[in-house]
């Protein structure tokens, strides 16, 4: 069966090898923001003869082809998500690591305005919010402070 990403890759004229097919499948099925090691872990479950090097190479390939997007969440490793048309950002739960996506047109507009006032045209941007659940915070549950 052809995964969504695989179709996208063929559309872009990429050579479809077995490992690319598997990685595409893994990424199509993912609804989180896996890092390379995690993608590899999942890929190996489908076909054990996929090396981590190939995963790295394929992620870069897919990124360059704009099929996926790299997300830098400041934890020292690259995470990925499927490329989407609309801009969105991430709220990271520092307690659990859960990542919540959100979009805000007003925020986009404001950002655009700020850049313009500074004499710049935006070519990229990123916003991350680190937070803790309101109710937990109220409970006064201790937050083992990571460096955000």
């Amino acid at each position: 069966m052809t995964s969504r990403l695989e179709a996208l890759c063929m559309e872009k004229g990429l050579k479809m090898t077995g490992q690319r097919r598997v990685i595409s499948q893994v990424l199509s099925e993912a609804d989180d923001h896996p890092d390379v090691e995690e993608v590899h872990r999942r890929a190996v479950q489908i076909d054990p003869r996929i090396s981590i090097a190939t995963v790295y190479r394929t992620m870069r390939l897919l990124e360059d082809a704009q099929v996926i997007e790299r997300v830098d969440l400041g934890d020292g490793r690259a995470r990925y998500e499927e490329a989407t048309a609309d801009h969105h950002h991430h709220l990271i739960d520092t307690r659990t690591g859960r990542i919540i996506e959100f979009a805000s047109p007003e925020l986009e507009a404001m950002k655009e305005r700020i850049a313009h006032e500074l004499g710049y045209k935006i070519v990229g941007h990123r916003l991350e919010i680190y937070g803790v659940p309101l109710d937990d915070a109220a409970d006064g549950i201790r937050d083992e402070e990571e460096r955000p």
Copy 2:
């Protein structure tokens, strides 16, 4: 002569060694966002017997003491600036690497509101805008696309 950061360090009760004094001076005089290597480069010019390891250690020390702040601009290395009371963000000129600081109370408020709507209390956040000068963009000068 005692640099501004050196005074701050003594206030915090840190043991003032020769190399810490030099690094404090370098940071006090910096008005940009140097990475560790750059700080080392400048420190060595004042006293050649400072190792890069010590710079790494001192930067972390000063960061923990909230004397300086780490800035992750997504270029794979840590950059630093003096700690300030007010939150601000960075606009990075992708053409030149120049970093422009800006603050926006409205933006802060909006961010706060978004987090609250998602049920979170903010413990940290970061916003970076990558852009090119408006006039350059208008001229149609080619932008050698880095991965932002």
